[in-house]
Symmetry: none
Subunit: 200 residues, 4 copies
DNA sequence: TATGAATGAGTATTCATTCAT
DNA sequence: GATGAATGAATACTCATTCAT
């Protein structure tokens, strides 16, 4: 009979959860360890039994969040679909991630490229990007994406997506399912070569 | 004849400059006041003669940066231009801001909607948004923007723009003048209603 | 059949041994209990089953070491020997102790008269000193020791002895059997009244 | 008009003094920085303006104490004196140091060869020893010191000296001027070759 | 007015000790 | 009995802010 009690008994999980929440809210430097301990419902020392320093902790959170994103983004991806459909699928997976894991989403936005991220964290970051990058390169070669560097395409689409959800949690906007699909179409339009000026 | 020493500029400006630089680099919470004083080349106490607290200082920086953005964005705006041309103009003003004031740009991205921003800062934020919002609303009514909330359109375009420049200073990308224009076209495509299904 | 695992020895002994080692190396305040537990190969809590606090533990180590010194110093002491021979014997017993029990020797040097030593520890300290003191007093009355307080004689000889061995484990010196005997002679010279100026 | 006030205004000096006192009493590891600050009558942060860490502080104290010892020991040393007289002079200088600077004396005894001492501290340690070592070597070559390694001679005499003063501050003994001279004679006896067996 | 030394509450982290298993 | 995870007070150190000069 283990840990049937009220509070979830898994301390590391509680600590990660609290860290995710506070880092997403206040950022790494803005979060104090004693505060974090209180939120996790553990003693301050307990954190250090599981994570040897604040830096190690933030990297653990980063890697958890990034892995989750990778799984949600790349799982059940039907690469055989036509480019347009695949785009929709990617968009929806992203949206599902942002919806189901808002803290992870905000955390990742806030802790990009920070100096305390270690090599493992950076490696996972790259792991997420590579398949998307490949998709962009392939689309471009197939003539169904604009003639821009894959990196630029990704930056525009990812940026637009992030902008949309930031606007929501900033209170400017409520994203309905319908709006989500409209935004997807808008982004597809910025991704695929425009038909403007394309002959008769 | 006052202060003929090393740097002649006036103190408040030096302090604001140092604050802008460090906040943009390390964030508000990650920046220490004594460090900031050293960067500004003034005594720690001097900061407090001009800005009564760290919060007041960050708000001053925010307002300076946001005002600069507003001026660069809205100055010499030819509202009588056709929507498409106005879009290009806005895009170019934004790009000029990001290019000429990279610190202000990064600072603003990093300090959105933080709890230490006061009412004045939030008001200025809105001041910047309102004309853009009006442009979106008008475009939509004229049928030259997609049928989405103006807030969503702004979020998508602003997000894409920010994504592009973040990719640049993250080292993923080098933004040439040509690329900038291609990106503008892509964003316009996501802004204007797609011609899909529109047929004779 | 209990605890057939790795180290078979009994726990209290293992704990005392680890405490002796670490206290001798790093001092009382410089030694952490969890570290000590790891060195002893026991759980942290186990220490407290046998020693109710760190202070109790250090006193146990002190008493063990001091008792060992007492035994080695006073056992098989031929009090009937002439003063000179007895001096040599004491010197050799001391040397044997320092050689065979270097940790105990270092520990005792490092933890003299510390405020956490309890009355029992202080009592044992005195028990060791009393017979030596008696030897000094007797020698002096017999005219074979210098005309100084017994305490001063003891301090000089003990100090010289300790200095010699400290020099060895500080790496300044290697104490051969021959050197040990030379040193003994030198100390005897400082103990016994000089013949200088003694004439008919 | 500077610092005429009750308490000496020199913060670094006050901090060094408090550090000397507490380290001499409780040892390095046994002394807490906030305690030290309170003793020095300064804020905890003030210590760090002058000494960048506890280690830097203990090295500063060590170097101050060792330099003082060196000056008192080697100053006005009449190297042209006969060996016996020079020995007395060294002894008296040492005694003066132990008398006038009991805290420095205790501190040095307690912090020998500790791992936190830096190269500068170790260098000064050697600087003190070298001249004494030279004296021993010269004496030995002149046939007025026992035929032992200079290091052993030093260890015995220094050890005896330290033993004597430790006995005093441990309360076993009161060292009168007369006793000090008797002890000096005893130590000289252990230093110089015994006349035993030398006869007509 | 400007300074920067000084402060002490606050930070990350450690450690003697406890207690559920 | 033995364990080692958990604790929270204590530790070394930092930082926003003040104030004597």
């Amino acid at each position: 009979m283990k840990a049937p009690a009220g509070k979830p008994e898994d301390k590391p999980a509680r600590i990660l959860q609290a860290a995710l929440t506070l880092f997403a809210e206040r950022g790494y430097a803005g979060t104090a360890m004693p505060d974090l301990a209180r939120h996790a419902g553990v003693g301050a020392g307990t954190i250090y039994r599981h994570f040897s320093s604040k830096e190690v902790l933030v990297n653990a959170v980063f890697q958890h969040a990034k892995n989750l994103l990778r799984e949600q983004l790349l799982r059940e991806l039907h690469l055989e679909l036509p480019t347009r459909a695949l785009f929709t699928q990617l968009w929806q997976q992203l949206a599902r991630f942002a919806r189901e894991h808002p803290l992870e989403f905000r955390f990742l936005e806030l802790h990009h490229h920070q100096p305390y991220l270690d090599e493992d964290s950076r490696a996972i970051e790259r792991q997420v990007l590579v398949p998307i990058w490949a998709y962009c390169v392939a689309s471009r070669q197939a003539g169904v994406a604009r003639d821009m560097p894959a990196e630029a395409l990704m930056a525009l689409i990812w940026g637009a997506f992030v902008g949309l959800f930031k606007a929501e949690y900033s209170g400017y906007l409520q994203i309905s399912e319908h709006l989500l699909m409209q935004a997807e179409e808008a982004c597809w339009a910025s991704f695929s070569p425009s038909s403007t000026g394309v002959g008769p």
